[in-house]
């Protein structure tokens, strides 16, 4: 071997020399473009350095250059796996600043799509997480394909509703852009019935599987204190025993009308986070049914149709709105100077804050656990980098 090449291999016979391994940004389990620099001793990770920013698209600057009418369809591109809730955060913030009324029907429609979106997003999470642990050529791929099948059904619903499958532009300031088409409610009911039954099948498939349990139980434990210190939200903090859910803590969009549980697990490991999300599937489906049953009649927007993009003007002021996205608290801060565009806009991405937990919990685990932990955090890099 030539001496130049020999430098590359840093691992030695003693087993205590260190190897620096680069995971990402192009890596099968990077969940987008995440780069983790792992320092290994043998198979054990002793340090991890997380590098983000590969998907930065100047979202906050875009928010300043686009009008209030234009930006919601861009807002869906922050967390593109749960576009409905990203849009909702932005329009809620603007409505707060401008004190726009939102009709009851629009509020229910918002809840309806947000919960369907949560189910779709959790489907993708379960599939990709199992893909990380089980391999593209193994049982993981089987779960992945089952989950994609369910997600497709929801995307079909969204397509019937908005004409788009990934980035919807469903919300607008003062209400929603579209009303339910004929027959949609029946179709939605049938879809969630099927999904609810399939969720039970996945639980049976995974929770009776000893290999799945030993890969997830006791792996990546986040203590309650650590979760609160780092500022986790969503299923991660609920997996560590903190009952925190924006829908409950600060009900928005009529969430107070709905009867649902906030699932909490105390173990704080990957399995607890899995359990939280599996229960959220069922709770979301429950909310979808309630929203369909109790959908009030009336207008879907408090504002007349928009004829020009500069038509919505928001009085001077500032405000912050937060919603419970599939990954946690999604917040949006808007400062208005009275024009058709925000003066300044700031995102609070759930994935970005959740990702900060990785350096705290990964060291001490094996390389194989790194992908299991990363998958259980469920980051979406559109939301991390924005």
């Amino acid at each position: 071997m030539d001496p130049e090449a020999r430098k590359v291999v840093e691992i030695g016979y003693g087993g205590n020399e260190r190897l620096i391994m680069n995971m990402g940004p192009q890596h099968p389990s990077a969940h987008g473009v995440f780069r983790a620099l792992l320092v290994l001793e043998g198979e054990t990770v002793v340090a991890v350095d997380a590098v983000i920013g590969y998907l930065h698209r100047c979202h906050e600057k875009l928010g300043e250059t686009l009008t209030y009418v234009q930006y919601p369809s861009i807002a869906s591109k922050t967390d593109y796996v749960a576009a409905m809730t990203s849009e909702l955060a932005y329009v809620s913030a603007v409505e707060k600043v401008g004190k726009f009324e939102v009709p009851k029907r629009a509020q229910y429609l918002r809840v309806l799509v947000a919960e369907l979106q949560r189910v779709a997003s959790h489907c993708l999470w379960l599939g990709t997480w199992c893909l990380d642990m089980g391999g593209a050529l193994g049982g993981g791929a089987t779960v992945f394909l089952y989950c994609m099948r369910e997600r497709e059904a929801i995307l079909d619903l969204f397509e019937a509703l908005t004409g788009a499958r990934l980035l919807y532009g469903f919300h607008q300031i003062g209400g929603t852009r579209y009303d339910l088409p004929a027959g949609w409610a029946e179709k939605a009911r049938r879809t969630v019935d099927v999904i609810e039954q399939r969720i039970g099948e996945y639980e049976a498939m995974l929770e009776d599987n000893a290999f799945f349990l030993i890969r997830t139980q006791g792996v990546g434990v986040v203590s309650r204190e650590l979760a609160e210190d780092v500022g986790l939200s969503g299923p991660l903090i609920r997996g560590s025993g903190v009952e925190y859910d924006v829908r409950r803590a600060e009900p928005y969009s009529s969430y107070g009308d709905f009867d649902f549980k906030v699932p909490v697990e105390t173990a704080g490991d990957c399995y607890a986070r899995y359990r939280v999300r599996m229960q959220e599937f069922r709770e979301s489906i429950k909310i979808v049914r309630q929203a369909l049953d109790g959908l009030p009649e009336g207008a879907i927007s408090s504002r007349p149709g928009v004829k020009s993009v500069g038509q919505v003007r928001v009085p001077k002021g500032e405000g912050y709105a937060r919603v419970e996205g599939a990954r946690g608290e999604v917040g949006c801060y808007v400062i208005s100077d009275g024009g058709p565009k925000p003066y300044r806009m700031k995102w609070r991405g759930a994935s970005f804050s959740n990702l900060a937990i990785l350096p705290h919990i990964i060291p001490g685990h094996k390389v194989a656990d790194v992908v299991a932990i990363m998958g259980s955090v469920d980051p979406v890099f559109g939301e991390v980098d924005r």
């Binding site: 071997m1 090449a5 291999v9 389990s29 391999g135 193994g138 094996k366």
Partner: protein, 331 residues
């Protein structure tokens, strides 16, 4: 017309080798179709009507005409040799397998020993590939390979020795000869037979690096493990070796536990019965592969050394007692 033994042996080996390559190519299609059925997909469909039966040929041709890349920092000699060193033992194991009475290359009197010894050699090729690539992922994978295959060869051998002990011979044809009648199959031998078969399947999964024991490949952690740098024909050789090894293990399992070529019907149906049983074993392994998640390297070693190895040793001892008490062929 008499043919010298060396020539007839050569002809037999030539036919067998080509037959194996053919079967291996098509067993990939079988696995893909089987996996697709499990995952509510269709699988290969468009290349060759009906149901993509030309897909394996297309894959092979694609791999043959792909560019062969040798990474600059690789250890060229080791890197280039590794696929061959890996493939040869995987193919060599077929030499001792008789497909029907008298239909095989060499029915050695130590056939099982030869099979086990030669199939254990594949680790050399794996490690050469991982080391020669001079890639961190490949190196980690090679280290895992050595750990795993050494751990699982022992339970594999012990499980395979149970039928040998029950027969009292290491000759493959003699082992099949001892399983006459449906109740004579060693998998139906009370308690011992079933346990040994299960142990054999588990160890076979690990020896073949299949999910849930595919930590060598582990594409979500180590991209593709020891073969991450291989492309084109060298990659094809490694794939071929892997599937050939899997097929060989399936044949051995069918021979040791499922009565080899024995089955109803005329004698010429023997090889077909044998192939069907081997495919059955292969499909069990495939079924496991497509329903489990991968486990971690420390857990794999723990399962082997703390569970499977003691269990197979006890099983072997129990078989020994049974055979001694029965004065030959068990009770």
């Amino acid at each position: 017309m008499s043919v010298p033994p060396a020539v007839s042996m050569f002809i037999a080996a030539f036919i067998l080798l080509n037959a194996i390559v053919g079967v291996v190519t098509y067993i990939t299609l079988l696995e893909r179709k089987f996996a697709a059925r499990m995952q509510s997909r269709i699988g290969p469909y468009y290349v060759g009507w009906p149901h993509g039966w030309l897909q394996p040929i297309a894959d092979a041709v694609k791999l043959m005409i792909k560019e062969d890349i040798v990474p600059a920092p690789a250890d060229r000699a080791v890197y280039n040799l590794a696929p061959l060193v890996f493939l040869v033992p995987c193919m060599l194991v077929f030499a001792t397998i008789p497909f029907a009475p008298g239909l095989g290359v060499a029915d050695l009197n130590i056939g099982v020993l030869f099979f086990l010894a030669v199939s254990a050699l594949e680790i050399v090729g794996l490690f050469m590939g991982g080391w020669g690539s001079n890639n961190k992922y490949a190196l980690l994978s090679a280290m895992r390979a050595v750990n795993q295959i050494i751990s699982y060869d022992l339970p594999f051998i012990f499980a395979a020795l149970v039928p040998v002990l029950l027969t009292g011979s290491m000759q493959m044809s003699a082992i099949v000869g001892a399983q006459h009648g449906l109740a004579g199959w060693f998998v139906l031998y009370p308690v011992i037979g079933q346990l040994a078969f299960v142990a054999y399947l588990i160890a076979a999964l690990a020896a073949e690096n299949r999910v849930p024991f595919d930590i060598l490949e582990a594409e979500s952690e180590l991209i593709a493990g020891f073969r991450v740098e291989y492309s084109g024909m060298k990659f094809a050789l490694i794939q071929l070796g892997e599937y050939a090894h899997m097929l060989g293990t399936s044949f051995l399992g069918a021979l040791l536990f499922l009565g080899g070529w024995l089955g109803p019907g005329p004698a010429w149906l023997g090889p077909i019965w044998f192939l069907l049983k081997a495919v059955f074993v292969f499909l069990i392994l495939t079924w496991v592969r497509w329903s489990f998640v991968r486990i971690r390297v420390d857990q794999i070693l723990a399962i082997s050394w703390k569970l499977l190895l003691p269990a197979t040793v006890v099983l072997l001892l129990a078989t020994g007692f049974v055979v001694a008490a029965g004065g030959g062929r068990g009770l």
